[in-house]
């Protein structure tokens, strides 16, 4: 027996030797004296940061896309009129140095920064701002490019549609002087300033549109700290330092490279090998490895998302409130989070993440109580349970690192109270389409914030106005929808807070969802990275980041 084990060991050794030797035979010896590039390479004084992520950007025009991988890059190239603080959604001056709210929130006057140039050398001024807003809002604008397939989802969502639409909130934009503009609104809009700070509304050089036409999506020209250099699709996007940046002495990096490495584990391997400096989408399982490694740094993003299980409230038996509440009692969220999130998430009781305006902390979560769930189901006439389809996403999301396993855990919870869930997974685009059409019984999904305003969460997900659309539960409560709509126009923060709290209380009682989790996404980086602060929006400006 011992001899056999010895043989096996020898064979394994031989295998690895052959693997190495094979390389030699094809003329590719890994020579130790020459292994400087590819691994742990020296940057020869050049300050380059390589940020690795799972997917490529869709385009480099922030206005026409909604994906985080696009805004992560465009944040560096374009700047908005207002910006967010480094670690929160607190609004601070950006390309506008100051703002004034007039006429009870119907008029916003913005003072623009005067010493700013676009990367192509043209001046940033009031005309440039107006050009950008018109390009986004006016389907007739020569640079709107609707026939090229450009869509402006964020603009439509945040500003109530487009020029000519009844709900479009911007009446006009007026140029007061070269560096002062005024937005005249049709009605007050509480999230207006937050919206202006979104990366989707980064100001682009008007000249770049003359020059590149619809190809601006690959030739971005902004005022930001980094200048676009090259894009190898599905591989790397390279940005270089903006030597004429208006913030004196910044940025600190010479080059920023966004590299695509689709597989989470491969990305982590690359980080450990020193091929990259920062990575997004660390597997929760790798957190302990990062913490134990002195050369690595763990970064946590503030939870700015919600993962939930939604009911199709138009379909029996999920049109029955008691059934929905019963199923809320059936789910063991704590167990789910400790198993799948490595305790990086917190249980959810609101559709909003904690810390948001309108977060209702007085709501008492439906506690995990299978007996109570069974009793409620019996009361509703389902003592023998029922069968249903539980739809789950095919891809990991920031709020759901392993949807398949989460669905299985939920399936087990439901089985405990006598319900039979059949787990169904569909291809991602189909999943989104079909849940929007209402083909599902029960579905898993989530949402991440982009501007820190509660309106972006609740109005997109639970308002009757978002049917069909983001309200995939087809939850239709007039009072709630009215509260959401009023809150958008309410400029008094406390009154607004109260409105959301009230609406969320109703949502809690009627239970169109089982809110599951607010996840804390984790990133990892090499210890040579200095002053990196992950932003809750998933897109941070790297102006102040440096490498050793």
């Amino acid at each position: 027996m011992k001899k056999r084990i010895f043989m096996l060991l020898m064979l394994t050794l031989a295998l690895s030797l052959v693997l190495v030797a094979c390389g030699e035979e094809t003329g590719t010896t890994p020579d130790e004296s020459d292994n400087d590039e590819g691994n742990n390479e020296e940057t020869s004084g050049d300050k380059t940061l390589i940020f690795a992520r799972g997917g490529d950007s869709v385009s480099l025009d922030p206005a026409t896309t909604t994906d985080g991988e696009t805004s992560r890059v465009t944040r560096q190239i374009f700047e908005s009129l207002l910006e967010f603080e480094a670690d929160s959604f607190e609004v601070k001056p950006g390309l506008a140095t100051d703002y004034e709210i007039l006429d009870d929130g119907q008029r916003y006057r913005l003072e623009l920064r005067e010493d700013v140039q676009f990367h192509d050398g043209t001046d940033f001024n009031a005309d440039a701002v107006i050009f950008n807003f018109e390009r986004w809002s006016d389907p007739e604008h020569p640079h709107h490019y609707a026939d090229e397939g450009f869509t402006y989802v964020f603009y439509g969502n945040q500003f109530g549609g487009f020029k000519g639409d009844e709900d479009h909130i911007i009446e006009s934009i007026e140029k007061i002087d070269e560096y002062t503009i005024e937005f005249v609104l049709k009605r007050p809009s509480a999230p207006f300033l937050q919206n202006l700070a979104m990366s989707a509304f980064g100001i682009a050089s008007p000249q770049s549109f003359e020059e590149h036409g619809a190809d601006v999506i690959e030739n971005p020209v902004g005022t930001g700290p980094f200048v676009f250099k090259s894009w190898k699709r599905n591989d790397t996007i390279t940005l270089e330092k903006n030597e004429n940046y208006w913030q004196e002495g910044y940025p600190l990096l010479d080059t920023v490279i966004f590299q695509v490495i689709p597989d989470n584990s491969a990305r982590f391997t690359a980080l450990m090998a020193g091929d990259i400096d920062l990575m997004d989408g660390l597997n929760p399982d790798d957190v302990t490895t990062v913490e134990a490694d002195g050369n690595l740094e763990l970064y946590k993003r503030a939870p700015n998302n919600v993962g939930y299980l939604g009911f199709n409230t138009q379909k029996a038996p999920f049109d029955n409130e008691q059934v929905r509440v019963a199923m809320n009692h059936a789910v063991n969220k704590e167990a789910l989070i400790s198993a799948l999130y490595r305790d990086l998430g917190v249980t959810a009781k609101n559709p909003l993440p904690p810390g948001y305006l309108g977060y209702n902390d007085t709501i008492s979560e439906y506690e995990y109580d299978p007996e109570k769930a069974k009793a409620l189901l019996a009361e509703a006439g389902y003592e023998d349970g029922f069968e249903f389809e539980l739809w789950t996403m095919p891809v990991a999301r920031p709020y759901m690192p392993d949807p398949q396993k989460a669905a299985e855990a939920l399936q087990a919870d439901f089985a405990e109270v006598g319900l039979t869930a059949k787990v169904i997974s569909k291809e991602w685009a189909t999943y989104l389409d079909e849940t929007q059409q209402g083909l599902q019984d029960v579905y898993m999904l989530g949402w991440s914030g982009t501007n820190g305003d509660p309106d972006y969460f609740v109005n997109n997900l639970l308002s009757a106005d978002a049917i069909p659309g983001g309200n995939r539960s087809f939850y239709d409560n007039e009072e709630v929808t009215a509260l959401f709509n009023d809150a958008v126009e309410e400029t008094d923060v406390d009154a607004r807070d109260a409105m959301y709290q009230q609406a969320l209380e109703i949502v809690h009682q009627e239970a169109p969802w089982i809110p599951l989790v607010h996840n804390t996404p984790v990133l990892a980086g090499s210890d040579r990275v200095i002053n990196y602060i992950p932003h809750p929006s998933t897109s941070e400006v790297l102006t102040h980041v440096d490498v050793e």
Partner: protein, 334 residues
């Protein structure tokens, strides 16, 4: 021989037509209106009408097919829905990346496989024979992704000899001319970049090439064993020819036919295996290109990607067939 080549080329025509029909059909096999499928549920009436117009969807099917084939023949594979770029242009770097990787994997597989097979046959039932065939057995059974992760862990992470991911050093990009990094780095006169490229190629190429290598080794061994028992080898040996000449000149030449078949087939499987390998090693090749297109429902890219991969497969088989004729003049092709 020339007649054979011409006939073999003519035979390609029905194959190519069949391929083009299949890829053309992809878009029609998906339920619903193709324009709607391409643009998604939120598409406006105008954009639908526009796309239908530009794709010629209003024309009868045979006209549409004609336009499609005409495009392909002119090297126009259409426009990506997602990036709005010309696919022929866009695909070039991915294709080059995959070809570079596949070629490297194949060189590894053939070189190691053939030599290991020969040595095993030569030293039949020896320690070497036993070991190499055992390794070959493991090689065929080992899933590509497992070997890939094992390599990454050992050679990139543990020993830090080789880079774990990518095609090159992102900090020092290669100036692209042909998109083949090995060629481009030489054109730029950058031997350091050439070396970096080779180092990046090694792990994925070995992962990708191990299964073909193992199959080729086993095939070569059994084929060689058969040949070495034949009379003309005995005669050669009796005449006192050097052992190496007997093996490589007389033996291999006759044993190589079945090996060639295997090589041809393996190139096809390499293209398939490349998807996994490319994902694990962050290799921006055709597998990734098509995979991403599928994830984003970029149908023109899916169509073109499959077409190009199929075309390469057909081409490789053609080359293998022609090589038969060259290697073995006994085969009568009339």
């Amino acid at each position: 021989m020339l007649a054979y080549i011409i006939r073999r080329l003519l035979l390609l025509i029905p194959v190519l037509i069949g391929m083009s029909i299949v890829t053309f059909a992809i878009i029609y096999l998906i339920p619903g209106n193709p324009a709607q499928t391409m643009l998604g549920e939120q598409a406006t009436e105008e954009s639908l009408a526009q796309l239908e117009e530009s794709l010629g969807l209003n024309e009868p099917l045979y006209v549409q097919y004609g336009l499609y084939v005409k495009g392909i023949v002119q090297g126009d594979l259409g426009t990506s829905l997602r990036t709005k770029n010309d696919i022929t242009e866009e695909m070039r770097p991915y294709l080059a990346a995959t070809m570079e990787l596949t070629l490297f994997a194949m060189i590894f597989a053939v070189f190691v496989g053939v030599n290991a097979g020969i040595l095993s046959a030569w030293k039949q039932n020896s320690w070497f024979d036993f070991t190499s065939m055992f390794i070959a057995l493991i090689g065929v059974s080992l899933p590509v992704f497992f070997l890939a992760l094992l390599e990454q862990w050992y050679f990139a992470h543990k020993l830090q000899w080789l880079p774990a991911i990518g095609r090159g050093n992102a900090r020092d990009p290669i100036e692209t001319v042909t998109h083949f990094h090995l060629i481009d780095s030489l054109l730029a006169g950058r031997l350091d970049q050439f070396w970096t490229t080779i180092k990046h190629l090694m792990l994925p190429a070995v992962a990708l090439g191990t299964i073909p290598m193992a199959i080729i080794a086993r095939m070569t061994r059994s084929s060689m064993l058969e040949v070495m028992r034949s009379d003309f080898i005995r005669t050669a040996k009796a005449k006192g020819a050097h052992q190496l000449i007997v093996i490589y000149k007389h033996g291999l030449r006759n044993a190589v036919i079945p090996v060639l078949t295997v090589v041809g087939l393996q190139v096809g499987s390499l293209l398939g295996g490349a998807i996994l390998t490319e994902t694990i090693f962050g290799w921006p090749g055709m597998g990734r290109y098509v995979y991403d297109a599928i994830a984003n429902r970029d149908y023109p890219v899916i169509q073109s990607g499959i077409l190009v991969i199929a075309f390469i497969f057909v081409l490789v088989n053609l080359i293998v067939d022609l090589l038969y004729a060259y290697v073995d003049p006994r085969i009568n092709y009339r």
